[in-house]
């Protein structure tokens, strides 16, 4: 039986600020995961990752992260990815403060 593909988003760190960004359907980088493109096809995901990695002057370290559809858009699955959408827990810094 074929392995079921878990939906993904393409994510990376912004080159200048270093914070988390996600790739949207219209090829922009967003700082809100809910605006990211939710990829449900493995081959399409691989292609989108390649396209993201080619944008060396905008981001660093692009990868595919598991995500699931939420009421307002994609949501993180793993706690690490959830932290990336917010910021650290010891100070009100990062995305939660923006």
């Amino acid at each position: 039986m074929a392995r079921i593909f878990t939906p993904k988003v393409v994510t990376a760190n912004a080159l200048l600020e270093g914070d988390a960004v996600w790739l949207t359907e219209d090829n922009t980088w967003t700082r809100n995961i809910a605006e990211a493109e939710l990829i449900t096809d493995e081959a399409h995901g691989d292609l989108r990752l390649l396209e993201a990695q080619a944008r060396a002057d905008e981001i660093a370290g692009a990868y595919l992260a598991d995500a699931r559809p939420g009421s307002s858009g994609p949501e993180p699955v793993h706690f690490r990815e959830a932290f990336r959408t917010r910021g650290p827990s010891n100070y009100h810094h990062g995305k939660q403060a923006e």
Partner: protein, 556 residues
């Protein structure tokens, strides 16, 4: 203190200019991340979960007031107004912007500091006893040797691409406060039977996924042979160390796989070959360096006011009981400033607090500060008659927590709140444990207790050598915390033993509370520390406390 000469100054400035060009080429897209990454790491710049992180070296943990003030200025100008002191006596800035980093490095160079070799597979910042030059139990100040090692290892052409990172620590005291047995090379200043001073050379220690206690490679190394002998060790490792597997690349594995005897043979052989190349220039340099570390002009004055203040103010008395250590000079004390206020992030100081500490060092501390591997700041030379004033100023700045060496003086790595390698968070666990013990008001009854927390197997939080170690892991997508017991990072270094299954983030703090209050019932008397009780009784009674239901099930 060592002051940069023209060569040091020129080297550091040239490196800043070089890195400025590299950053420009990265931003305009002419360097890819793969090309840029090794260049930024050579200059201490990481990319983490939420931002870049700049790791600045504090060589052998020693700073003067001007340097501390500059660290505060950098925090305000290019970061979020604070810095994080680490277990390797460095300071980390968690929020720099890529384009600002060259200016930050330039500002560091202005006060004789840099971020060179704070990352990468090179010889890292050489660490030392944070009480160096002040401790009453010291044979010699280890810092001139640490500075000699820093100069030798900085940009050493043979050692820029080692199999893996390489860490050296030096101590001059019998009581090991620098965790030398958990370093790639640990150097302990000793006296031989003839009364000569030299080094006991320890190699192959380390924490991480395969924790090992260092082994003695040479019982006594004459002082003059320090550099050729260290160079022999590192060059043997450079050839023999594994490059096929990152997890087997540290020298501890090289020593383990080849055996100490073979390493000894190779190092001695290499040492004989290269020794004559060190034609005395290193010793001339050492003499120059030593001149920069002459002890300050200690003053002799009465300490009566100190005793009176102790009697008059119970809070001051409590602080002096926990936060002072014996000084070699009459009338002086070593002050440990706790950067572990209950509920705060271990090792984080605001720019304002840095300025207060710099000011106190200048006024009352012979212009010296230290960063300890336990993430506290030390004023190494304070006259007892000034302690009440120092305490009052620290209190104003929220820096007067009287908890050095106690349950809330916790080492914690940044964990998954910042670090890209982490598998779980460590900071909130440290905050909750400290807050809980403060609520219970029992940490002074508990006495000496070292709790150390790492957010992944790489063990930056030294959990293996904590009396109680906590390791945060990812278990099926949930944070999970394993407890180890009986670890020790001193001259009797011991790797802690795993107590059993891990605890959830909600259960770990109650588990630690159970463990510590359980110890109070187990100890023979109030002078027996947690570690001593553990050594006397072994794991079983502590296991029964940690896993009570299991115990009942077994008994039934």
């Amino acid at each position: 203190m060592y002051k940069y000469n023209d060569f040091d100054e020129g080297f550091v400035r040239a490196r800043v200019a070089q890195f400025r060009g590299q950053v420009e080429r990265r931003i305009d897209g002419s360097l890819t991340e793969d090309e840029f990454k090794p260049l930024r790491l050579m200059n201490g710049l990481y990319l983490q979960l939420h931002a870049y992180m700049l790791r600045v070296a504090v060589p052998y943990g020693t700073l003067n007031s001007a340097q501390m003030l500059q660290l505060a200025l950098i925090a305000d100008k290019w970061d979020k107004g604070y810095g994080h002191f680490t277990t390797r006596q460095n300071i980390q800035y968690n929020w720099p912007k890529l384009g600002d980093v060259p200016d930050m490095l330039e500002a560091l160079a202005d006060v004789g500091m840099h971020a060179i070799q704070t990352s990468g597979n090179t010889i890292r910042n050489v660490t030392a006893d944070h009480f160096a030059g002040a401790a009453s139990d010291e044979i010699e100040d280890p810092r001139p040797y640490a500075e000699l090692l820093r100069q030798w290892s900085t940009d050493h052409p043979e050692f820029q691409f080692l199999p893996r990172k390489f860490k050296i620590a030096v101590t001059g005291a019998a009581e090991d406060r620098a965790v030398v047995r958990a370093h790639d090379i640990g150097l302990q200043i000793v006296r031989n039977d003839a009364g000569e001073v030299g080094f006991q050379v320890i190699i192959g220690g380390g924490l991480g996924r395969t924790p090992m206690v260092g082994k003695v490679l040479r019982e006594f190394l004459p002082k003059a042979d320090l550099l050729p002998y260290c160079e022999a060790i590192v060059s043997v490792y450079n050839l023999l160390g594994r490059r096929d597997n990152k997890y087997k690349a540290r020298i501890k594995i090289t020593v383990h796989e080849n055996g100490l005897a073979k390493i000894q043979e190779l190092v001695e052989e290499r040492f004989v070959n290269i020794r004559e190349d060190f034609s005395g220039h290193d010793q001339a340099l050492l003499t120059e360096i030593e001149a920069a570390f002459v002890p300050p002009a200690f003053v002799k004055k009465p300490t009566d006011g100190y005793e009176a203040a102790r009697l008059a103010n119970p809070a001051f008395r409590s602080w002096t009981d926990t936060n002072l250590s014996g000084h070699k000079a009459d009338g002086y004390a070593i002050v440990s400033i706790s950067i572990k206020k209950h509920g705060a992030t271990p090792g984080d100081a605001t720019s304002e607090q840095m300025r207060v500490m710099a000011d106190l060092a200048q006024k009352y501390g012979h212009n010296e500060l230290r960063i300890s591997h336990e993430q506290n700041v030390i004023l190494p030379h304070v006259h007892k008659s000034d302690l009440a004033k120092v305490y009052a100023a620290l209190r104003e700045a929220d820096l007067a927590t009287a908890n050095i060496g106690l349950a809330s003086d916790i080492i914690a790595c940044p964990g998954m709140d910042y670090c890209a390698l982490a598998t779980a968070r460590s900071i909130p666990i440290a905050q909750e444990i400290a807050t809980r013990f403060d609520e219970l008001k029992i940490e002074h009854d508990i006495g000496q207790l070292k709790i150390k927390i790492s957010g992944c197997i790489n063990a930056c939080g030294h959990h293996h050598v904590g009396h109680i170690g906590i390791l945060g892991l990812d278990r099926a997508g949930v944070e999970n915390y394993q407890i180890t017991l009986g670890g020790d990072g001193t001259q009797t270094t011991t790797i802690g033993e795993r107590a059993g299954p891990g605890f959830s983030a909600d259960d770990i703090v109650p588990a630690i509370e159970r463990l510590v209050t359980g110890y109070l019932d187990l100890r023979s008397d109030e002078n027996e520390t947690f570690l001593q009780t553990y050594r006397r009784l072994g794991m079983e009674p502590f296991k029964a406390i940690l896993y009570p239901s299991e115990d009942k099930a077994n008994a039934a």
